[in-house]
Symmetry: C2
Subunit: 415 residues, 2 copies
């Protein structure tokens, strides 16, 4: 039996116990996990140093090494994240519907854990702890398959967490880490129907596409964001620029940042130079369509490929559009249904944009950067779903649950 099958079977067995734990039992375990991370931080930092050393030898970029690195303050923050998860309401057991049928059957729809959640992710070792905490809080067992670049760190972290779980009501088997770093361990997880109930990929485009395209286990797709901001004719210019700069430059690497600014031509004719200057002041390189370049000739040409690109960097496409319709058409063509914004003082245009744009989150006069579980007040998130099934947008704890109908009868049979 392969490592993946063996560990997934253990997780499935543990899932049976997990579903019957009380909120108090789960919270106590989360707090023990947090304490253990802090008390054993030196061992974790030493393991992390091996990953960093290996990364340097392989020529990993400084920014990736930074994402991989753990130190005392980062471990403290990760542990604090677990304590916050412990404080969140437990959705398991909630009654979502309750009704009685004319034949006397009483039916209750209640939240239950998903069962076994598989997480396939890349470098950052904090995901190991976050995902474990969120899945365990919601009564799930979890099978983690992290990237090889963080393998020493992940292995030590899970060892520490297992130590904590062994002193809790949560069975240690509910948390599994796949150590095999070859691609076939991922391929195997993708097909484990019956042992893994849902897969959540977290990482770059190719990781996510591999999971989406090849999994027979149900998947929650997360990730790609080619987000737009449309500055409408009636927009307040200063608000529009403030929102645009924030959406692009506050943290360009994340999925809810803006890639393309759409500007109504009436605004563009008067103000595109000033808008362009503001972005240049924020170190953003600009590409434009023909009309934009007529107004600001210093921009590079935006090609069709550019409209499709999630730069994740200080680069922005600017397109001058005739009107709201052209903006909507562009978003329909190039958007990834993640987060889209209109800046306008025209209530009818705002309403039309929010109604017609098909995206997880649609904004009127606010930065797309708010599409985030913490910013939405969910207290934590397992990712941002960009699909339409099950969960859409930031996924809080309820996204990690399923439902079950409990039916109470007194001998009813079907006629």
């Amino acid at each position: 039996m392969s490592e993946v099958v063996q560990k997934s079977k253990l997780a499935k067995q543990a899932a049976q116990i997990m579903g019957n734990l009380t909120t108090e039992q789960k919270n106590a375990a989360l707090l023990l996990m947090a304490d253990s991370l802090v008390s054993e931080q030196q061992a974790i930092i030493e393991a992390n140093a091996k990953d960093l050393q290996r990364g340097k030898e392989l020529g990993t970029s400084a920014s990736l090494l930074d994402r991989l690195a753990l130190n005392e303050s980062r471990i403290a923050a990760i542990a604090e994240g677990l304590r916050q998860i412990a404080e969140l309401p437990d959705p398991v057991g909630d009654t979502l519907e309750a009704f009685e049928r004319p034949n006397g059957l009483r039916i209750r729809k209640i939240r239950v854990p998903l069962g076994v959640v598989g997480i396939i992710y890349e470098a950052r070792p904090n995901v190991t702890v976050d995902a474990a905490g969120l899945c365990l809080k919601t009564g799930n067992a979890v099978v983690l398959r992290g990237g090889s670049s963080a393998l020493f760190s992940n292995e030590k972290i899970v060892e520490v967490l297992h130590g904590a779980l062994s002193r809790s009501a949560i069975p240690a088997d509910a948390l599994q880490l796949i150590l095999s770093a070859n691609r076939s361990s991922v391929d195997e997880m993708l097909k484990l129907n019956g042992l893994i109930d849902v897969l959540i990929p977290r990482g770059g485009h190719s990781l996510i596409q591999n999971v989406v395209n090849n999994a027979s286990v149900p998947v929650i797709e997360t990730g790609a964001g080619v987000c737009h901001t449309f500055i409408d004719e009636s927009a307040q210019l200063d608000m529009a620029v403030r929102i645009g700069i924030n959406a692009k430059a506050q943290r360009p690497s994340v999925c809810n940042s803006m890639e393309t600014l759409l500007v109504h031509e009436a605004i563009a004719e008067k103000h595109l130079s000033a808008i362009a200057e503001a972005f240049k002041g924020a170190h953003v390189a600009l590409k434009g369509n023909e009309r934009a370049r007529e107004l600001v000739p210093s921009m590079q040409v935006a090609e069709i490929e550019d409209w499709k690109t999630e730069y994740g960097d200080y680069i922005l496409n600017i397109k001058v559009v005739k009107d709201l319709d052209e903006a909507l058409d562009h978003i329909r063509e190039y958007g990834t249904m993640h987060s889209e914004c209109i800046v306008t003082e025209d209530a009818a245009n705002a309403e039309r944009f929010l109604q017609e744009v098909d995206a997880a989150a649609v904004y009127h006069n606010a930065s797309t950067r708010f599409t985030d579980g913490f910013e939405f007040g969910f207290g934590a998130e397992i990712g941002i779903s960009t699909q339409k099934l099950h969960a859409r947008g930031p996924m809080g704890l309820p996204s990690l649950t399923s439902t079950k109908y409990r039916v109470y009868g007194s001998g009813q049979i079907r006629e």
Copy 2:
């Protein structure tokens, strides 16, 4: 461009319009569809006769031909189904959550259509109308890919429905029927990410498994049911037999019927002969485990394969078990997480069964045959989900929707 791609693109374009229609517009269209089916029933019955003729030539079984056959009363019932869908509440636009953040952002989570729903199904032409009605009511466009055995019927039905839609606010392109009957048209649909938002397979095991195993488009799995009824030590014998006979024999071909009866040994020792007689009286052939056959030697031997089998027929496995734990173990091993029942007068055992059994619907003292959208009071169903993502159990109209966050700001940016 293939037929599948071409029609899916038309559906996607139509989906944009669909999402903005009012409930009244959609209901008016559904009523026109119903009227047209009745007024053009002769043409439909003639097309259906061609399918029946072809089926006979191919040696199709009488029961399958019966499922395929349309007549005036069946068409009237199908049309009535559309009228009932028109009367159901429209979930699209419902506000599921509304909250304000400390920074003043107002966030509303609202129901929106899924977009384009692909339905892959087999013979019965009523699915063509049901699925179209349910998808259009929920503001979705729909791409139907029915079986070749009903192709003449489906083509005529869709022609009639298109005629009705052309006199309504729903664009005719929102309803697409794939005419290509070869397997490759299914394979193509499975990979149409970006054009089809969700696939719902309806049919036999191999059809569903092909979709689940090979689709990259998100799937809602429906179908297989190996359902159990456990007669606990404290059960009322007459109630237990009544529920068991109903679960097995009221309509054995459907997924919520029972395949295995688990009997507590204390009951079995006294009453298994009487229970077996009752099933035999309902024309049910019995297979048993060793303990059961000691008590009722006339039963055949139940092999491991039998415990896994969805007979869909007048055949029942009977297993005598030591206690509730052994019943739970058996269901965990062989159940398909569809519908499971305990018959007991012991409230603690009932609670434990309902809590621990992992299934879409769990019953205390009622037949598993109630797992059904109509019986649950949903007024209609697109199928019974046997997966844990998005929808579980009978799927009413809300299962055909997604959600969207509308965020209203006044210039908020992220710090």
